[in-house]
Symmetry: C3
Subunit: 266 residues, 3 copies
């Protein structure tokens, strides 16, 4: 089967950077299938890239190679990684970009890519997406070996999991999507803890005491809490961008707790 | 031949939603060819999506599968459709998105997709692009049957055709494109009615009494009326966005009529 | 091998124009591999398109067909070109879009595409991307001949090369990229002239007297001069868009010269 390679970058669609990476890949492995994943990750926003990668990687077949480039530290001592996670391959910088997929993986093997370059063939110091990551993906796709050194240690973003326990859980907004929906790091299953007691969830000015199925369950312009397509609790407004309407930003605190009134009632 | 699947969405390029759909498609039918049609349809703008689909669908080979997701009513009772129009297949929500391609089709067969899901395999209530439309396209692409129920009834947008008759025709702007060109629902052939009499066309502050071949037929910054690449009359400004310059918006009225001065002259 | 066709346009991702071109290509040559290069070239910005094409073309295998559409003069007498440059093919309007790749090519053959169209099959006057350039690429990809007339003359942009000589070189900003990095037309090798004497480079308010390896060599928010991935001198700010921070625009002057203080010191 043709090797499948997905590309996620913060390069946008107005430059030749994505196209240069594709050229390197196709020159190295002409039968590779290249799949554009997302190229408008906000420039340098590792948190956003890490979340977006979590959104799509699990839907791909085994042996898919995911090349991921959100790399503000390009050329610095940060390492280049090649990860095998549950039968898929991920290639990119060691800056936290793989935090969510590592966190969700059952099996992992992580290698630091060795750079067998010197002289004229040296990679640039400013475009490892082309000169290291696409190069490595091309080598791998054509069945060769990417030189690397096993490591157990990838840089991980903080705050993947909510903190707190029992009936008071503190999470955060991990992503604002294209529609202005605000995605939390509270797995929807967490509401199960409150099966027989009332709860409230708050984030900034927003308060929720119940959970809806989908956007159109409430009137246009009304806020709601629902289980997003990623199985996390999501704050949204029907037909409008919740983030803009309520001034919610990435990393804003989200608190899920027992409702006080209830406590009094018992 | 490899099945061809085009994707049009309002998901943008900064999230994992498009990439998740591609993963579902390729896991279901690894040999499918996925063609990105357009992913920056304004969020929830069914009118825009319907027009854009009309722009490209007819150029594809027979049996192409067009997956179209502009779906603000996701999870509501709106149905999921599978349409066969003149030998091509269209999959998406029943919300008007297929109005223009249905309107232009000689042969049509429309089915409501049945959702044979339950329990753990239930589709999400917020991302049918991934869980129903891409799923159905994948099933079809690998030669299987998508369960469905014949219907004669798809939701249609209003105002596809101009109204009025004879020498007074009232149309509207159906699309503002990336260059700010304003596309009307007046087929260019309509000017034929005025073959021997003078006409004027007006839209907001703009008045035209003749028709140009292309943008550069007038000086930079000047407005013109021309036959667009879609065979509709189009209002444009050479080198600038007409919509911005003249404050024209989608659905603004366009009137084509006999010139009054002429009437007096006869 | 499947023919490879890259597409660069200023059509954006919110219209059906790119998708219509792909439909024409795939209807003409169903086995063609279509690679999206860049679709967000600023509308009508030939300078930007010409630079971006230079960024990626050289990384593609021989016989790749590059279709390039930034075409504000569509429908005017400007010609349609088919170029063979160092074993690759380029198709698009004769408006300067191919300046950088022609400038960098060792071998070139340029033909004006003859348009064997008449009557019902006439190309539109407003969308040659679809009706001439994609059509020609499809013809070529399926192994047929595109009718054309040899020419030695393609329209070239001015100012590809810096002017001045010796120790005073005057260049310009040729591109502002997605990150706000400002790319000059001064090849990095030019600093070699100043091997044993001090130099300064200035552009607007910015002054540099030395050269860095990569963005993170300076503190966040600090400006630096480096060798970009395109082997040209580049002005950047670590973690911020230099163009915005320092008000730099395309075509702004860049001067590289011997440092005066040094002259006094000797």
């Amino acid at each position: 089967m043709q090797p499948m390679i997905t590309l996620m970058t913060d390069f946008g669609q107005a430059d030749g950077y994505v196209a240069a990476m594709k050229g390197v890949l196709l020159s190295s492995c002409p039968e590779a299938r290249i799949i554009d994943a997302a190229h408008d990750i906000p420039p340098g926003d590792i948190e956003a890239g890490a979340w977006v990668l979590r959104e799509y990687a699990r839907f791909y077949p085994e042996d898919t190679i995911h090349v991921c480039v959100v790399d503000p530290g390009v050329g610095s001592p940060r390492e280049a990684l090649l990860l095998e996670l549950d039968g898929q391959v991920f290639i990119g910088p060691d800056n936290g970009l793989f935090s969510w997929v590592i966190y969700g993986a059952s099996e992992q093997r992580i290698r630091v890519i060795d750079r067998p370059f010197d002289g004229a063939d040296s990679p640039s110091t400013t475009f490892h997406g082309r000169d290291i990551f696409a190069w490595a993906a091309g080598v791998l796709a054509r069945g060769s070996i990417v030189p690397g050194t096993e490591t157990s240690d990838a840089y991980m973003l903080k705050g993947l999991q909510p903190s707190g326990s029992g009936m008071h859980i503190q999470g955060r907004i991990v992503h604002i999507d294209h529609f202005g929906n605000c995605i939390t790091n509270l797995p929807c299953g967490m509401l199960g803890r409150f099966a027989e007691i009332s709860w409230k969830l708050r984030c900034g000015r927003l308060r929720f005491t119940h959970h809806n199925r989908t956007y159109s369950d409430v009137a246009p312009g009304e806020a709601l809490l629902l289980t997003g397509s990623h199985q996390m609790l999501e704050l949204a407004v029907n037909g409008s961008p919740a983030a803009l309407t309520y001034g919610i930003k990435c990393n804003d605190a989200v608190v899920l707790e027992q409702m006080e009134v209830d406590r009094e009632r018992f």
